[in-house]
Amino acid sequence: MVHLKLQKLVSAKGQLLSLDGLFAILFCALFIFIFNIYTPKELENNVDLVKIQKINDLLITSQYLSIESLEVLEQNYILLFPNTCGYIKINNTKKEINCLNITKTKLLSNSIKYINNSNHNVYIEIGVY
C-alpha cells in the first residue's frame, strides 16, 4: 500500500481528507463508470412479440376464412388469448373480451381491411392489453 505522507487537507475544525483516499474514490468512480458502460441492455420483451404475432394470426386467418361475424372472431380470440383482456372490432361493431375488473395497460393492436366476395369493404381491428 502506497501511503502518501502529509498529503492531507486540514480544515479549521480539524476535518481530514487524505489524498490517497480521494484517489481511491476516483478509482472507484472510474470502475463504476466502466462497468455501467459494458452492462448489456435487456432485450425487448418477447411476450409482446408473441402477442402481436397472435393478433396478426387472427387478422390473416379472418381474411382467408372471410370471417365477418363478431361471434366467430370472438371464439377464435378466446382460443388464442384465453385470459387476456382485449377487443375485437368488425366495421363499426366493437366488443371487449376478458376485460371484467381488469386494468387496461399497454395496448397492442393491429387492423386489416379487405374486400369480401360481395365487393364490400371489411375492416377488422384487434387489440390486446
Partner: protein, 135 residues
C-alpha cells in the same frame, strides 16, 4: 497529532479499498446475471422466430399450391413432414407439434417440455390452434 492523522488516513484508505472491492465484485455478479438473462431471452426469441418460420415458410408447413412454387399462404398449413423438416425440428429441440386436437409430430422422450408457443392457423379449411413445444 501526526500519529492520529496516519491512523485516520489508514482507516479511510482501508474503508475505500473495501468499498472498491465490494463494487467490483457486485458489478461482476450483476454482469453475470444479465448475461444469463440475455442468453435466455435470445433462446426464447429464437424459438418464437422458429415457430413463425414453421407457419409461414414454404419449406416448412406453409401451404404451397401445386405448380406455384415460391407462393406460400401464411398461416395456412399443409402437413408435409419430410426428412429435411424433421431434421430441423430436431436441431431446434422441438418435441411436439399439435394442431387443433391432433398431434402431428411427437418425440417419445422423457424430456420435459420447457416452452410451448401457440399460433393461430388454418388447417383443412378451419381455424385451429397450433402448439409448438420445445424441450
Amino acid at each position: 497529532m501526526k500519529g492520529q492523522i496516519i491512523i485516520i488516513d489508514l482507516l479511510f484508505f482501508a474503508l475505500t479499498v473495501i468499498l472498491v472491492i465490494f463494487l467490483i465484485i457486485n458489478n461482476l455478479f450483476e454482469i453475470k446475471i444479465d448475461d444469463k438473462e440475455t442468453k435466455q431471452n435470445i433462446k426464447e426469441l429464437e424459438q418464437i422466430l422458429f415457430a413463425e418460420k414453421l407457419v409461414t415458410d414454404c419449406n416448412f408447413l406453409a401451404y404451397t399450391p401445386n405448380n406455384r412454387k415460391g407462393l406460400c399462404y401464411k398461416n395456412v398449413l399443409e402437413i408435409k413432414l419430410n426428412s429435411k423438416i424433421i431434421k430441423q425440428l430436431e436441431t431446434e429441440n422441438v418435441c411436439r407439434i399439435k394442431i387443433g386436437n391432433g398431434v402431428v409430430y411427437n418425440i417419445n422422450t422423457n424430456t420435459k417440455i420447457k416452452t410451448t408457443i401457440t399460433r393461430g392457423v388454418i388447417e383443412n379449411g378451419a381455424f385451429k390452434i397450433a402448439e409448438i413445444s420445445f424441450c
